[in-house]
Symmetry: C2
Subunit: 130 residues, 2 copies
């Protein structure tokens, strides 16, 4: 097709970025990736480590991650069944930019919180009197 290779990043490209960020943006996803970044983990190990996650969410999260080829699911057909999850090479490569964003988050966390506080304060009495 007549591909109109754009000189810069198009909205279309941003769409794909949105898609990835939507997946990575799911709070549980990066927690799983971060945990798996420390080495392969079993299902219950992940559930135990990631406080607050439900079994359903963990299942859906790992399946989504596996579907995207970010993690590898290794099921051992034994009794009791053992399932290990590990980052793939693709997942590890994703870990880098994610960590970069993570460092930004940590570095500017205070600024963002302050901005929120300021915004909140300005909107508490916006249009109101004392």
């Amino acid at each position: 097709m007549g591909v109109t290779d754009p000189p810069a990043h198009t909205i279309e490209s941003c769409m794909h970025v949105s898609d990835v960020l939507a997946r990575v943006g799911s709070k549980w996803s990066i927690l799983v990736i971060a945990k798996l970044g420390q080495g392969p983990q079993r299902f219950n190990a992940l559930k135990r480590e990631i406080t607050g996650i439900s079994q359903r969410m963990l299942t859906l999260t790992v399946r989504g991650l596996e579907r995207d080829g970010l993690i590898l699911r290794t099921a051992t057909p034994s009794i009791p069944p053992r399932v290990d999850y590990a980052l793939t090479d693709l997942g590890r490569s994703l870990l880098e930019p994610v960590q970069a964003l993570g460092e930004w988050a940590i570095a500017h966390r205070a600024v963002v919180e302050a901005a929120r506080h300021t915004f909140d304060a300005q909107h508490r009495d916006a249009g109101s009197h004392d």
Copy 2:
């Protein structure tokens, strides 16, 4: 404060990262940030450029971004009213890691799609036939 850079990334740190990624992960957010990265834009201009976004979502997105100090809202009290949105310094600093992640998305887009296809194919007849 005692910045004793932690030995590794803790779960708690990841929580904050999740928070930021949750905001950035909202597909509309990065589109707005990307658009604003090209220069200040008016409300309708953003709505026109970002195809598919509703007025409600744009308002909410822009307000959330402003609340976090990522963008600056400049309202001109005239008839008709004119409101310009522009990236703050904080927003521009966020643009860097986001673009890094964006390049990852573009670079590995095909791989992810292939992984999805493979996963989908394997699960279409998983457990079926011999």
